[in-house]
């Protein structure tokens, strides 16, 4: 096996193998576990960076194994795939550091980190998948690997959340499976190609292909939390903070959003999707989801639930961007994979820090917490502004591209959706910022832990600050070469190349 074949597999193995070893480690062998975790994450990041570097110079990596006559399992490098796998590799490293700090002394850590690693393997696999079947395989693996993380606490509430999660995601998986079969029976191939694979089959089959599109989008939309398929996401909040962070920033919901991009760009092709009126339909659903998520977020009193509804809303910017049918909007949507990831992971880290350090879960308990934990809350503030879309944060870049794209596509109603959503974002984030910074701290926190001079454990604080800084940087330096935005624009332009 040559290196060009082995590298995609190595990227998968770099998180899978440590995960499997961790399963059998006894609970007390903390050093070995930490080494494996961090080691795997660093190796993976290194391999991904190497792959990106080589791919820019035109090297193509692909591993292919025959699964059925005419059907292969394919993992390969592609611009979009590398974009996503890069994000997941980076955030996995950060989240691993955070999770080690967060779960200190709690039970079942070997089990937790084992499934955590498999979860990341599944994400990387979905990112590198070269056809719909491979994507489906990793999509299902992700469902299975995340379930133990959701029920990790083992309480009745956690198990309930686990059941809800499974009901939604296994059901969604079944829809994707049917859609995949059906598509295969028509096209005879499932490869992801720029411009899609269904164009030659549209004549006379428009309705069948539309039905398949609806099946695929509905199935993948479960993970992407499109309304009305979002119900599992706020319930799954019961999971430990690092899990929520990973779920919301890179793993589950992002694989959903990424899958939508794959269906529109690489399977159907944007021209077919627009020609059949399917992309427009998805854009409407995405717009409804954006507004609905924000409205529900307004009504929340629990910080993590608020963030969950905010995810529901923010995630649909991606679907909206890619379904508007113009390259500018598509770039805005694709780059939001990274932007939303960095901002949301920071916000969940902050929620975790508050819970772990002061026992704060409810928003009303956050009064004056800015003075107790200034660094943490500074990170929160930055990313809250980013979510609202104030320049120069990353969120602004996304909204700008989406808005310009919407006007270019002649869909000016989208601009109103963006404005309304930004106002709603402001309406639920600004009051929190006000009580955090301007109210007097309450005398006693619900459950305070002491970390000497520091405001919280460094293992918790540093990842938070890192991701917040990154969220700032990708906004500030958006137009530099190799920035996520430039990359996303490159990917988007390619989809529209003749």
């Amino acid at each position: 096996m040559s290196l060009a074949q082995a590298l995609p597999l190595l990227i998968l193995a770099s998180s899978l193998l440590p995960g499997l070893v961790i399963f059998v480690l006894p609970e007390r062998s903390r050093g070995a576990r930490t080494t494996l975790n961090i080691g795997g994450a660093v190796v993976k990041l290194g391999l991904v960076i190497w792959m990106v570097g080589q791919s820019v110079q035109g090297v193509h990596y692909e591993f292919r194994a025959s699964l059925l006559p005419g059907l292969d399992m394919v993992v390969r490098s592609s611009a979009l795939g590398l974009f996503f796998v890069g994000l997941s590799a980076l955030l996995w490293l950060v989240t691993t550091v955070y999770a080690i700090g967060y779960l200190e002394d709690s039970p079942h850590r070997s089990r937790f980190f084992g499934f955590f690693s498999i979860c990341v393997t599944a994400t990387a696999g979905a990112a590198l998948a070269g056809n719909l079947l491979t994507f489906l395989a990793f999509y299902e693996l992700l469902t299975l690997a995340t379930y133990p993380l959701v029920v990790h606490r083992g309480t009745d509430e956690a198990r309930h959340a686990g059941r809800v999660y499974l009901a939604y995601t296994i059901g969604g998986g079944a829809l994707v499976t049917i859609g995949t079969f059906w598509l295969y029976s028509i096209t005879g191939t499932l490869e992801f190609e720029p411009g899609g694979i269904v164009a030659p089959f549209v004549d006379g089959r428009a309705r069948v292909l539309s039905a398949i599109f609806v099946l695929l989008v509905a199935g993948i939309g479960v993970k992407a939390a499109l309304v009305p398929l979002h119900g599992w996401l706020p319930t799954a909040m019961i999971a430990p903070a690092p899990v929520s962070a990973l779920l919301h920033a890179v793993a589950v919901v992002k694989v959903g959003a990424f899958g939508l991009i794959r269906v529109i760009f690489s399977t159907y092709g944007i021209e077919v999707a627009t020609g059949l009126g399917l992309a427009q339909g998805l854009a409407v659903v995405a717009a409804i989801t954006i507004l609905f998520g924000s409205l529900r977020a307004l009504a929340q009193t629990n910080l993590k639930r608020l963030l969950a509804y905010s995810t529901v809303s923010q995630l649909s910017y991606i679907a909206l961007g890619v379904s508007l049918g113009v390259p500018v909007a598509a770039a805005g949507g694709i780059v939001h994979l990274v932007h939303q990831g960095l901002m949301k992971i920071t916000l969940f880290f902050v929620a975790g820090n508050l819970a772990e350090t002061l026992g704060i879960h409810e928003i009303r308990d956050m009064r004056g917490v800015g003075r107790r934990m200034p660094w943490t809350m500074a990170a929160f503030t930055l990313c809250a502004f980013g979510m609202i879309g104030t320049p120069p944060m990353a969120g602004f870049v996304t909204k700008w591209y989406l808005g310009v794209g919407a006007i270019e596509a002649g869909a000016s109603w989208v601009v109103w959706v963006l404005v309304a959503s930004s106002l709603l974002n402001a309406a639920y984030f600004l009051p929190i910022l006000r009580i955090v910074w301007f109210d007097d701290p309450r005398g006693d926190w619900p459950q305070e832990r002491n970390f000497g001079g520091a405001e919280t454990s460094l293992m918790l604080l540093l990842p938070t600050l890192f991701t917040a800084a990154a969220a700032l940087a990708v906004g500030l330096f958006a137009s530099l070469p190799y920035s996520p935005l430039e990359w996303a624009r490159l990917i988007a332009t390619r989809q529209y190349a003749p």
Binding site: F23, A65, S66, L67, L68, P69, M73, R111, L133, L136, A137, E140, L141, L144, Y147, P148, V151, H152, R153, G154, T155, A158, R159, G162, R163, L166, I170, G171, G173, A174, T177, I178, F181, W182, Y184, S185
Partner: protein, 485 residues
Amino acid sequence: MSAADPGAWLVWLVMSPLIAAILVFLVPRIAFGIACANALCTTALALAVLDRVAEGPVRYALGGWGAPLGIDLYADPLTGVMLVGASFVLLATTFYAPGYLAQARIDALYWPLVLILQAALNALFLAADIFNIYVTLELLGLSAVGLVALADRTRAIAAALRYLLASLVASLAYLLGVAILYHSHGVLDLVALADSATGTPATWAALGLMTTGLAIKGALFPMHFWLPGAHSYAPAPVSALLSALVVKAPFYVLLRLWLGPFFDAPPEVGDLLGVLGVAAIIWGSVQALRQDRLKLLIAYSTVAQIGFLFLFFPLVKAHTIVQGITLLMLAHALAKAAMFLAAGNIIHYLGHDRIHDLHRVAKELPLTLAAFGIGGVCIIGLPPSGNFIAKWLLIEAAFDSGEWGWAVVVVTGSLLSAAYVFRVIGHAFTLDDVPEAGNRVARPMVWTAFLLSLVALTLGLFAAPLLEVISMPVAGTADAMGIFP
């Protein structure tokens, strides 16, 4: 008869377990050693046969007599896959059994009975005529009943008797069908029958009788009544063998008959069997959801999974169906055996198998729970398990023949199995600070269950070469009818 002669391999696949059965009966002290030697030997032979039949079917006339007077052994790719599956599961249970038997205080009759069962099973897979199939079916049924009755409990005896009764009635129905076929066509050989048995009333009468008999033995809904008891009260390694292999044997015979003499059966009969299969999927899954004993749940899951196999009949003329069904039999055998072995470990540890208390073993038996979970994931049919590929082929067959309703059944059935599998797995995560102390589970028991589940999970990755072998014309049966292009 030299060792390199593939015909001799076929003979030894039956003779080796028979000789071993006699030896362990005479010298029980070295039973385990003999059983291991036999299991390894038959596994090697089965693999060799599978490799050989990839080039074309093998026929061997026992004692040089040949049909119609003598007994013929016959192997084609379908036979090869069944032999390999059977010998793998038997290999696993052989290594598993000593630990379980010692604790459950089951007497030495286990080994001779299991070896006779294996001989009967292999002989059935290799049988070339429908009367020999009857003989092997009887032998298989009797040894299986004996094994169920080994579990020293009243309920097990009752279940064994019910099993015996069902099995005897079924055998009679089958035998009657054989008599009718022989009377009207004068041949018993499957290949000869395939050529001569076309559309006479006698053929259809035989079809009705033989199919009914085999459906009872194969536990097709609503004739599955004997299965949950027999499969759940039996000792764990026996449960694994019964669910993985013994119920597949009558189905294998059905497959042979429907690809041969009954290939032109009225489509309504096929549809009826398919509908019963759907009912089995739904009924089995719903019952599985309602159980609070782990082994009963797994047994009802078998009822449901057998339903999937019967989707073969309405789709019999589709291109990919034989591949799909054969792979499904193999994949289900491996996964189900792993689940029953894992359940055996849990019973061994706790002394019972109440699903509600499953979290108490989580700390001590993580590999066992993993084996159960992986087996369950395979049963659901998630990639990369062999079941996934098999179900893919079933759905492809449904789409090919334009009857996509069956595809919906396959997907719905998989969702139902997800429901009962995760109902069990969910309990393993319940918070519990005081794990219950239990009996130590021997290492081979843990590892055989776990490794078997891994084989089942990765089967899909090795399915491509296997499917290539199966897609070879199944000579003397279906290729005559031209369903294989």
